[in-house]
């Protein structure tokens, strides 16, 4: 257990620079109209942030520092702004700042000719600011603030090419789906607020001396604890694209590719996982079970959907969904450390893969359909650096030995197996699905990645060749990122992860810590699954074997896969359409009934239009109408005594008198 040390601002000022510098870059880019300068400045800032981050990591690694100051006070409750600098956030900062820097460099080339380059780099700055905010924030409220801001900057970046049809829709969808998640996050926060009266993470951890079980003095019931956990998880589901909220992520590929690399592969989507790791002690067992099954399901669904995508980026997007599912599942099974480890390794190789895809697209951007894999082929000769980086990253993703993915996947799988062993003592139930999905996904990951690999880089070019070399701005970032997927970065032994990354958490997994399964055997099993996957794809897509079989499968499941399990349709039927209908009903109701309370009376009344003519003949309206109709009619009644015949007046008057006399008795 590492003691959290409350420190003074003087010790932390450097840390403040990390979010503030990108914000500065954002402001500079907004207010200076020189877009080239903005791009340059942004890159310089990214570099500076990276170096600051390195400096911070070096100077603070190993300790846990906490700084907090009041933001605003309502009643007696103070909302704080604070920084929590422990190993987790330090590593995360390192990862984010590095990838951000590399993506920035990559973007210099990628976005070179874009008119709105300044805007692009300013958004990147905004995003970085928000992301660092999430990472560094010491309390859940502040986390939520940046959480939403990340969503916002993601909205901006996805919709960057707003003149086109797709990006605005995709960004709209991304934000709304994220909002649904955020709604859950908010509810979780409310429960935290009501029962713990604090959002501070160190405080909250203290209240949970045992994982998932708060101290009795809190007085929170199991039900509310679960609501809290599920709420927070719903937030993570939105950001980390977990079932059933994963639909936005593939669409988000409408944004510029470097953005996909940074945001939709490495950082933002990982924020959900990061947050779950942060609040892991607060999650009770039922919540974790839900998390595990959702994660496993997502991992499987994503992998399945990745199969029949033709768009190079969509494959990677679904792959991301799948891998995020992995991480979430890992948290659910009680191995947050493994999840975080996978987050880091995945961040590097997936960013690299996206940048490779970006490089491919950039290379082919004069083509008609530059993202369609079936129109590529043979690219290995034309963009060799990309090919190399892609190969490395892909192998890492597949989880083959000598690459980082092997470690992290192995850690997760072992966690899953431990969990299933531990929790299936009372008989095996649905929980068995979790390891099942986990292992199938290993195979599938390798298979769809192989498909992409062979379709893109092998075979005959289906595009018109041109002389164009990879720019160093492209090559260096992808190679650097790819190189971070080698085993030696993490561990000396290529087969056994003995890395500090698995030690960074203050807490270990909640489930037993001894290895029930020999890591070597597990590694062999998973590697063979991956190799099998690669082999199958080699046969199918390189050797073009068993095409008949492939077509059959495609016929059978292609639709399901290509449409991501028809999730969009399901959402549309279950949510979008009802809401759209509801709004029409309610609006109709508003117009007709609330506003036109009296329409019914009005229709019955032949003289309605004549009566209403006084103000406006054609008003279709409301309570006013009620009053006008009623009072108008009554008015006519009142006037009808006045028919101008004096003797009728007598009758009315006497009648009035008689009535009063009758009342008198």
């Amino acid at each position: 257990m590492i003691v959290i040390e409350t420190v003074h601002i003087d010790q932390m000022w450097l840390v403040f620079l990390i979010p503030m510098l990108p914000l500065l870059a954002f402001l500079v880019a907004v207010f200076l109209k020189n877009k080239d300068f903005a791009a340059l400045f942004s890159t310089v800032v990214s570099a500076a942030v990276f170096f600051v981050a390195v400096e911070v990591i070096i100077s603070h690694y190993g300790s846990a520092l906490y700084y907090s100051m009041p933001w605003f006070t309502v009643g007696k409750f103070t909302y704080n702004v604070g920084i929590l600098l422990d190993k987790l956030s330090l590593v995360m900062i390192g990862v984010v700042s590095l990838i951000a820097l590399l993506v920035n460099v990559f973007s210099l080339e990628y976005m070179k000719h874009d008119e709105a380059k300044g805007r692009y780099f300013s958004f990147l700055g905004l995003f970085a600011f928000s992301m660092y905010g999430i990472v560094l924030s010491s309390n859940l409220f502040l986390t939520f603030v940046f959480w939403e801001l990340v969503g916002f900057s993601s909205y901006l970046l996805i919709g960057f090419w707003f003149q086109n049809e797709e990006p605005p829709k995709a960004s709209f969808k991304a934000f709304i789906v994220n909002r649904v998640g955020d709604a859950g996050f908010l509810i979780g926060l409310f429960v935290v607020f009501v029962f713990f009266h604090s959002f501070e993470l160190p405080y909250l951890w203290n209240e949970f001396s045992e994982f998932g079980k708060p101290d009795a003095s809190i007085g929170i019931s199991k039900g509310w604890l679960m609501v809290m956990g599920l709420g927070l998880f719903l937030g993570a589901m939105g950001k980390s694209a977990q079932f059933p909220l994963q639909t936005w992520l593939p669409d988000a590929m409408a944004g510029p590719t470097p953005v996909s690399a940074l945001i939709h592969a490495a950082t933002m989507v990982a924020a959900g996982v990061f947050m779950l790791v942060r609040v892991f002690p607060l999650l009770s067992i039922p919540v974790l079970d839900v998390i595990a099954i959702i994660g496993a399901l997502t991992a499987f669904m994503g992998a399945f959907a990745a199969f029949s995508q033709n768009d190079i980026k969509k494959v990677l997007a679904f792959s991301t969904v799948s891998q995020l599912g992995y991480m979430v599942m890992s948290i659910g099974v009680g191995s947050p450390d493994a999840a975080f480890f996978h987050l880091v390794t995945h961040a590097f190789f997936k960013a690299s893969l996206f940048l490779c895809a970006g490089s491919v697209i950039h290379y082919l951007h004069h083509e008609n359909d530059p993202q369609n894999m079936y129109k590529m082929g043979g690219l290995r000769k034309y963009i060799p650096f990309t090919f190399i980086a892609y190969t490395i990253s892909m192998l890492a993703l597949c989880g083959l030995p000598f690459f980082s993915g092997y470690f992290s996947k192995e850690a997760i799988l072992s966690g899953v197996l431990e969990w299933i062993t531990y929790s299936s003592m009372g008989g095996i139930g649905w929980k068995v699905l979790v390891p099942l999905f986990a292992f199938i996904s290993v195979f599938m990951t390798a298979a769809y990645m192989g498909r992409q690999y062979f379709l893109v880089f092998f075979g005959k070019p289906k595009w018109t060749a041109r002389k164009q070399k990879e720019s160093w701005y492209v090559a260096i970032p992808i190679l650097l990122l790819a190189s971070l997927s080698f085993w030696f970065v993490y561990s000396l032994s290529p087969f056994h992860a003995d890395t500090f990354l698995l030690e960074i958490l203050r807490y270990k997994g909640s489930v037993g810590s001894e290895h029930l399964i020999n890591p070597v055997i597990l590694g062999m099993v998973s590697s063979s699954l991956a190799i099998l996957g690669l082999f199958v794809s080699y046969l199918l897509f390189y050797k073009k074997k068993a095409q008949h079989f492939l077509n059959k499968i495609h016929e059978l499941l292609g639709g399901l896969s290509a449409s991501n399990w028809y999730l969009d349709g399901v959402h549309s039927i279950l949510i979008v359409q009802p809401v759209m209908k509801l709004r029409m009903y309610v609006s109709h109701f508003d117009r007709k009934y609330v506003d036109g309370l009296v329409n019914g009376i009005g229709v019955l009344n032949v003289v309605v239009s004549q009566i209403l003519g006084w103000f406006d003949k054609y008003m279709v309206d409301g309570v006013i109408k009620l009053i006008t109709v009623i009072s108008g009619n009554l008015g006519n009644v009142a006037r009808s005594f006045q028919n101008g015949r004096i003797q009728m007046y007598f009758v009315w008057a006497v009648l009035g008198i008689v009535l009063v006399l009758i009342v008198l008795f």
Partner: protein, 546 residues
């Protein structure tokens, strides 16, 4: 010297300026707007002086919390030799009203700037505007019920004419509708005012001096012991004690102004037909008077009503949030959409109020302030488009971002501020309301737990209609229905309106303490008062009317 009469100055400067305008000949009509602008600038400066002199740490509710008090006898009606009615000129600010005063000064100033391109009958327009200004300030500053009612009612007339004379196609209909609805509301309030003034007497042994002093009305001891509104009364009407009826009446009266859902239909019409600056004032301030009335009158005088009707208030708040959002989503007219978004946002005010916790009530007041600023920006946005094309159909535009990039930036920021993005004031407000409501639902059970949860859903819906509009109107390929429309980007004048607004929305989102601290102490006392007094009164009433 100036400190002693600061509040009076706030009211009378615009009033005098409005009258002075009437005597300036039409030949120098260019002067009108400058005089109005000058007056509003002075108002803002005075408000800032007021803020600088305001001691936010002064705790308490009722008399002890008041500052800058001005109190003198105004109308003294002696009835026979045994009693009298005393109407006072009684002004003061406390934490409940100070932020509203600031909001008024800001919004009204921006309103003037957006009135710059009013073309016809300038004299009438600007003098009515100044009179409206005076009554708005009066409404927030008055502490005598009669005085408050005077300003409350008096606001209607200028508004009626401003909508009816300078409005859109169906302006006459909209203006009369606005007038009638609000009048119905004020009749409800008037009924209670009369009943209260008869029941409440100044603690003076000599003769019964019936008073309209809102502060006196907060103390049960000042009620004539057996009057029907006193806490000891055992009289009921249809099984409900008179105090609860009175609470309900005041509530309905102000709910019309707010507006709450079944009685909101004046709002879209009034907004759609009103000229932009008037929509701005209407949404920015006038709706807030409804909310302010809840605090100042309904909750302060009849705290037990907060308990008795709290559940229903919360429910109607929730209905407003969801209903407003759904209806907004179905609108094809941008201004109507925004008008309904106001309905939705004001639902938060009701929800926050119903929960009676410090968080929720602070949030609700902050929501009024923040919505004041945001809705102003929203209506100015519709004004920008309407000024250029005289058309507000959402479907007639697409891809405006290409033609008006800077405008789009403003729209983007405003929309996101409105849907509650952190960093903008709306988020803090809505978070506080919902968190407080959650707390309230858990601890005091005045409102049900589903309410804040449904309220959170409202946030999603809010995001949906704003972003959908953004997507439809501003993104995509540039296309407008009528080729002849020209859509130049923002003018300098428009920048002058938008930039400070956006800066403020942003600043109050980053530093909510600027506003929250002003009212924090008062609200703590207020909540304590409502909770304690409310429960106490409730039990007394239930006992007495058994």
């Amino acid at each position: 010297m100036i400190e002693n009469h600061l509040l009076s100055l706030l009211i009378f400067i615009p009033l005098i300026a409005g009258v002075v305008l009437l005597f300036i000949p039409e030949t120098s009509s260019g002067l009108y707007k400058w005089i109005t602008l000058g007056t509003l600038v002075v108002e803002l400066i005075l408000t800032l002086i007021l803020l600088s002199g305001f001691d936010a740490s002064q705790a308490g509710i009722g008399n002890e919390s008041l500052q800058f008090v001005e109190k003198m006898d105004w109308i003294n009606l002696s009835i026979g030799s045994t009693s009298a009615i005393s109407i006072q000129y009684y002004l003061g600010v406390d934490g409940l009203s100070i932020s509203m005063v600031l909001l008024s000064a800001i919004v009204l100033l921006i309103g003037v700037i957006s009135s710059w391109n009013i073309k016809e009958n300038l004299k009438g327009y600007f003098s009515l505007y100044l009179i409206l200004t005076a009554s708005v300030f009066g409404c927030f500053l008055a502490l005598d019920f009669f005085l408050f009612f005077l300003f409350f009612e008096f606001m209607l007339l200028p508004m009626y004419f401003l909508i009816g004379l300078w409005g859109g196609v169906r302006r006459e209909y909209a203006s009369i509708k606005f007038y009638l609805y609000t009048l119905v509301g004020s009749i409800f309030i008037l009924i209670v005012m009369i009943a209260l003034s008869i029941s409440v007497i100044t603690p003076d042994p000599e003769i019964d001096i019936h008073s309209f002093d809102l502060m006196l009305m907060m103390d049960n001891a000042n009620f004539i012991p057996d009057s029907v509104l006193s806490i000891s009364s055992s009289d009921t009407l249809l099984g409900l004690s008179y105090r609860l009826w009175a609470f309900l009446f005041v509530l309905i009266g102000f709910a019309i102004k707010l507006p709450a859902v079944p009685i909101h239909t004046w709002l879209p019409d009034a907004h759609v037909e009103a000229p932009t600056p008037i929509s701005v004032v209407l949404a920015g301030i006038l709706l807030k008077i409804g909310g302010y009335g809840f605090y100042r009158i309904a909750y302060s005088i009849f705290p037990e009503g907060a308990y008795y009707f709290g559940w229903w208030i919360g429910l109607f708040g929730i209905i407003a949030i969801i209903y407003g959002a759904l209806v907004a989503m179905a609108q094809s007219d941008l201004k109507r959409l925004i008008a309904y978004s106001s309905v939705s946002h004001m639902g938060f005010v009701m929800l926050g109020l119903a929960a009676i916790t410090t968080q929720s009530i602070s949030g609700s007041i902050f929501q009024m302030f923040s919505h004041g600023l945001i809705s102003v920006a929203l209506f100015l946005i519709t004004g920008v488009i309407y000024d250029r094309t005289k058309d507000r159909e959402i479907s007639n535009y697409s891809g405006l971002a290409a033609a008006m990039p800077y405008f789009t930036v403003i729209v983007l920021i405003t929309f996101f501020a409105s849907l509650g993005l952190p960093g903008f004031s709306g988020f803090i407000a809505e978070f506080l309301v919902l968190a407080g409501a959650f707390d309230g639902a858990m601890s005091s059970e005045v409102i049900a737990i589903f309410m804040p949860i449904v309220g959170v859903l409202g946030l999603v819906l809010g995001a949906a209609y704003f972003l959908w509009t953004l997507q439809r109107m501003f993104f995509g390929k540039y296309w407008i229905k009528n080729e002849e429309w020209t859509l130049p980007d923002l003018t300098t004048r428009e920048y002058i309106m938008f930039v400070p607004l956006v800066v403020m929305i942003f600043a109050f989102g980053i530093f909510p303490g600027l506003i929250l601290d002003l009212s924090n102490e008062t609200i703590m006392s207020f909540v304590e008062f409502v909770q304690e007094q409310g429960k106490q009164n409730m039990t007394l009433i239930l006992e007495n009317t058994k």
